[in-house]
């Protein structure tokens, strides 16, 4: 749940990267860490095991101050992918404002992807979150590999909701910024509807996205330099 603090004029937003083990969640955050100007982001915190897989999660804060003097803090999290960390996934998912579901595009991974998708929907429910209204974006990662699924083949994931799909090769940094952009845009609109970001807090979408994406290396993306796409 987004946290508004009217006294200190602060808004804290939480975005979670969810997905099966080895689908590339941490890779996404690492790529973003490289592409975002240190002026608006903190360190990338990775709680990992010796074998190089995410034990608990990764976290990276992104923050900025708006024209109207509101401090916006965005925290990007990943969940641990391994099956055994189910309870950690549920805890990290708590109070999330938006989700990027990172899927391995390969057909061979379709079954496990669907299992994690359903697992996520269940864990959202367990956290009292309504996946029908929560901003969710699917990233079809590893698009460069043979056997990658096309967008027409995602019927299994889109059975209950119809989230936007962003193709990506996170290991090369492709699609990573676009995914974050899509998530934050949906997230902004959902928060705006519920809390009046523009009317009450005087933060227009253009500024919200612009404050972040003007500090992001946009090379190779079609996102406008000031960060705001036409609605």
């Amino acid at each position: 749940m987004v946290q508004f603090n009217a006294d200190t004029r602060e808004i804290a937003v939480k975005v979670v990267y969810y997905g099966p083990a080895l689908s590339g969640k941490t890779t996404n955050l690492q790529a973003l860490f490289q592409k975002i100007d240190p002026k608006v982001r903190g360190r990338l915190m990775t709680l990992d095991t010796k074998d190089d897989r995410t034990l608990f999660f990764d976290m990276m804060p992104v923050f900025f101050k708006t024209q109207a003097g509101v401090k916006v803090k965005l925290k990007l999290y990943t969940v641990p992918g391994q099956v055994m960390h189910e309870s950690t996934r549920r805890i990290v998912l708590q109070g999330t404002d938006a989700i990027a579901f990172v899927a391995d595009s390969r057909r061979a991974e379709a079954a496990s992807t669907l299992a994690y998708w359903n697992n996520m929907l269940r864990n959202l429910e367990a956290n009292g979150l309504d996946y029908r209204t929560l901003p969710i974006v699917i990233q079809m990662n590893k698009k460069d590999l043979e056997d990658a699924r096309g967008e027409a083949e995602l019927g299994d994931l889109r059975e209950v909701i119809q989230p936007p799909v962003v193709p990506a090769v996170a290991i090369r940094g492709d699609g990573v910024v676009e995914t974050l952009y899509a998530v934050l845009q949906l997230c902004y609109r959902s928060l705006d509807r519920s809390f009046g970001l523009e009317s009450k807090w005087r933060i227009p979408e253009r500024e919200f996205l612009g404050r972040i994406f003007s500090h992001v290396d946009l090379t190779g993306t079609r996102i406008p330099a000031e960060g705001a796409a036409p609605r």
């Binding site: 903190g42 915190m45 709680l47 976290m59 923050f63 803090k73 990290v92 956290n127």
Partner: protein
Amino acid sequence: MSLPPSFLQQRIPLPDLLDLKAFEEVCRSFAELYRVGLRVFDEEGNRLVDVRVGNADFCGYIWARPKGREQCMATVGRAKSDPIGDDPVASPVDCFSGCKYLAQPVLYEGDVIGRVVFGPFVPEELAELPAALTSISKDFDAKAAANYLTKIRRVATGSAEKILKHFMDLLDVMIFSGHKNLIAAKLHIEAVTESYRELQEKNEELAGSYAKLKELDRLKSNFLATMSHELRTPLTSVIGYSEMMLEGLGGPLTAEQREYLGIIMEKGENLLHLITSILDISKIEAGRVRLVLADVDGGQLMRDAVATVLPLARKKGLKVACEPGQLPRFQADRDKVRQCLVNLCSNAVKFTPAGGSITVSGERLGGDRIAIHVKDTGIGIAEDHLARVFDVFYQVDGSSTREYGGAGLGLAIVRSFVEAHGGEITVRSKPGEGSVFSVVLPVMAMEPAMTPSGPQPPARG
């Protein structure tokens, strides 16, 4: 269901992010290296660290005078509390004594979580003590004060800012690793708590279904007991009247009629036997078996059992031997032990092909126990079935087209009866070579006459 709020949602105060004792040591060695004091405050203004270097004499001299003390406190107050914004830059705070402090916010993830006050130091450009200081009292000794001042480090403000920046970088790393450790530890606890809660829920569900199953099992046993009883009554009449007709009580019969009646009687007896077994097992499962203990002669029981199966064994072409050995008399329920031996012998006959042999033998064991072995040269039992042959309704060949008949109750009854006596039954077998079932009984039966067993556990290891 909803989870308790995670600490991930909470803002963590500076003191929780640092090991304050270790942090103070770092501050002390840093301050001593650069010969400038340091103070660190948290967001609330609580002082976490206070290291002074070189200014004790000078400040002490000023502090000893009321006016000096007053102004000193004002300076310290400003350094500690004046607003300094939330950018990572140092703000100078001038002391009326000519010294200088630098104040800088401690930032983490864009939040101000504390402040560092660096100083006092003497700015390089300070030539002589300002009038504001020398005029604090009439007896102010400027020469002594200037002498004390030399103990405070003289440094250009720009250099002081660089030193402070270095300190802030160190602090940032310490806070980051502190935060990381804190998260790892707390999340670990939260994850374990959450897993525990989940297991607890599942356990409750399982306990619920287990109770339900137990109740169903009890109902089943009751049903079996009632039905067996109800079936037996009319069946006794069928057998009884057939027997009467065979004896000619209803008038003369043709050879064909006799043959048919013979079949009716034989099948009726089979059915009665089966129903009796079901009744026995349901009694056993309901815990209603009563042992009638008496002194019994094991050899006699063995001969009885062999005599019962002998006609069938001969018909199949099997050799049957009885070697009672030197068995002492022992305490047991004669009928139940006989039934055990008959069941074992019937099985031996059933599963031994023509030309095979069956041996029933007695053996005296140590510890006041006796054993009766029923050995055959039959088809044997594969190892993975061995542990389960004593289970109720268990059949090695469970298919509907199986070669050997039976309800799968014989051995279950044997086990229950033997265990009711405080004994045990074991089996050794090699597929294709034969089986040996051994009943081991104590010479003195155990006291309680009721079977201790309710429904048997499904499998024994």
